[in-house]
Amino acid sequence: MAPGVSPTAEPRWLRRLLIGAAALLLGLFLLLPLAAVFTEALRRGWAPAWQALSEPDAVAAVRLTLLVAAIAVPVNMAGGVAAAWCIAKFRFPGRSLLLALIELPFSVSPVISGLVWVLLFGAQGWFGPWLQAHDVQIVFAVPGLMLATLFVTFPFVARTLIPLMQDQGRGAEEAAATLGASGWQTFRRVTLPDIRWALLSGVLLCNARAMGEFGAVSVVSGHIRGETNTMPLHVEILYNEYQFVAAFAVAALLALLALVTLAAKTLLERGTRRGLPA
């Protein structure tokens, strides 16, 4: 065997074939659509694209998307940390049920994730008459978008944290307790610093999904322009109206937000691998 060749390595032609196939698939299914989005958006130059983005309905959609993310992400961050903490550090009855519930939003179709809110709070829903009597609008309004997004994006933080926290065990927390730390001091000074990179990574994933969610949001939105349209919904409307440049311009902005998020996540992960201290 030639020096420098690992004993477990496949023959060279096979390695090249596999790498080539992977690159081809990646290009075909990931890079090409992304490139298409940006090309289509700029087909007629920057001006029409910019115009589409500065149109009031588009601005309202961007604003709403950012608002939904700004609420869903912190709420799910807190909820996700709490759920992961319970599941990773304690044994209690109903623990596996809780674990299954956390994964529920991943396993049901987004359409159902939206529909449940209509069934609960819609005009014909369980609480519909009561809500109407008290003049509270949830479905086809911003609160409905919040609920649907919260539901769909709940698992990201918890799922990222659970394996790490399970791996770390309870030793450090117990040590902190014997040293006189209160629950909050233990969380802030011991637990949180230990999970911060994973937490950031989970938060960024949650953010990407919160901004990009279509299915669940589409069911509860009602598609009222300038009021309950988030960016993904706005893209669909524009596209259905044959305003291709505008549709792709908004889509490109959305993709850009997602790309920034992913880039941030990658940078963070590189930091973790280097084992950056404190």
């Binding site: 040590a175 902190a176 014997t178 730390a181 610093p193």
Partner: protein, 350 residues
């Protein structure tokens, strides 16, 4: 500082981790909890620290019942088996933690904290490691950091779970002596868990031997070695050969082994009633001589020099026993005559 444990019980599902444990430790004592794995030593330690809770029984420190006192208010230093150092904090910050988390009114000023941490670092001989992270130091050094962190809160009771378990033999020996000295110097009251009987005997003022969740004997090392309270203790300690035996007509018979019986007066522990028994004979309690033609009840398998003596492995009618003799007495394969000088015998309960 005094510690009283009374009738402590703890059950995990089907497993009885602690069974009616009672123990009284005086201030300044160094006590070992010794037993095989699964005997409840660590559970007992965790209950004392408030990290686990007993189903029944009480723990009193200086007469005060601890059952309603949470771990963080007990002021007990705990050194974890895996050290449980805070990964993201420097050695200095690890040690300072217990002082920094105190309520403002009791928290020493910043400079005072630094002074105390540095004093501890110096005492532990790790002053140069202050800025390192736990992952950047060796196992023995981590052990010292864990100890310094526990001592920083000036605990009234120090608990150590297998303090030398993860260290190699050389480091272990050094740390043992050092810990013994530190205990005396600081006037600590300490309990440590170990499964290593030599460690327990060398370090502790008194040893609590645990078996299946119960303390079966609690006494000084010398007394435990001299008068094991049960067959379990005798078997667990002191490299003894376990032999089938029977007490009858005022003597201990070893049949079916070809050994001469021992009169009752020669025994160091005697069953209360006649009948089947187990006997323990330690390696220095054998008399051995080369066999003349036609006699001999055993054969030398293997000899190993240890200090000024030789450790022999002898085949006694199929049972291998360990014995001590003067060097060069026997050659491997040579037939010999062995007899027990004394034995500790206990009733063989089914």
């Amino acid at each position: 500082m005094s510690l009283e444990v009374a009738q402590l019980s703890r059950r995990f599902g089907d497993a009885q981790a602690l069974r009616d444990v009672s123990l009284a430790v005086r201030g300044g004592e160094f006590v070992a909890l010794l037993g095989p794995s699964g005997s409840g030593k660590t559970t007992l330690l965790r209950v004392l620290a408030g990290l686990d809770f007993a189903d029944a029984g009480t723990v009193r420190i200086d007469g005060r019942d601890m059952s309603a006192v949470p771990a963080r208010e007990r002021g007990i230093g705990f050194v974890f088996q895996s050290y449980a150092l805070f990964r993201h904090m420097s050695v200095f910050e690890n040690i300072a933690f217990g002082l920094r988390v105190r309520p403002r009114a009791q928290r020493p000023p910043r400079a005072e904290i630094a002074r105390r941490v540095e004093a501890l670092l110096g005492r532990m001989g790790i002053a140069e490691l202050a800025r390192r992270l736990p992952e950047q130091i060796s196992g023995g050094q981590r052990q010292r950091v864990a100890l310094a962190r526990a001592l920083a809160i000036e605990p009234r009771l120090l608990l150590l779970d297998e303090p030398f378990g993860a260290l190699d033999a050389e480091v272990r020996k050094g740390l043992r002596r050092w810990l013994r000295a530190l205990h005396a110097e600081l006037g600590l009251t300490s309990l440590f868990v170990t499964h290593d009987q030599e460690e327990a005997m060398e370090l502790a003022d008194r040893v609590a031997v645990m078996q299946a969740g119960a303390v079966v004997q609690f006494d000084t090392p010398a007394a435990i070695l001299d008068r094991p309270a049960s067959a379990f203790v005798a078997g667990f300690l002191g490299h003894a050969a376990r032999l089938p035996a029977r007490l009858s007509a005022g003597a201990l018979h070893f049949d079916p082994l070809p050994l001469p019986p021992l009169p009752r007066a020669a025994l160091r522990a005697t069953p209360e009633a006649e009948g089947p028994a187990v006997a323990f004979v330690r390696s220095h309690e054998w008399r051995i001589r080369p066999a003349a033609a036609g006699e001999g009840n055993a054969t030398l398998l293997h000899a190993r020099r240890s200090g000024g003596r030789e450790q022999l492995e002898i085949d006694l009618a199929g049972q291998v026993i360990e014995a001590e003799a003067a060097p060069g007495l026997l050659q491997p394969g040579q037939p010999c005559v062995v007899e027990a000088v004394t034995a500790r015998a206990y009733a063989d309960k089914p």
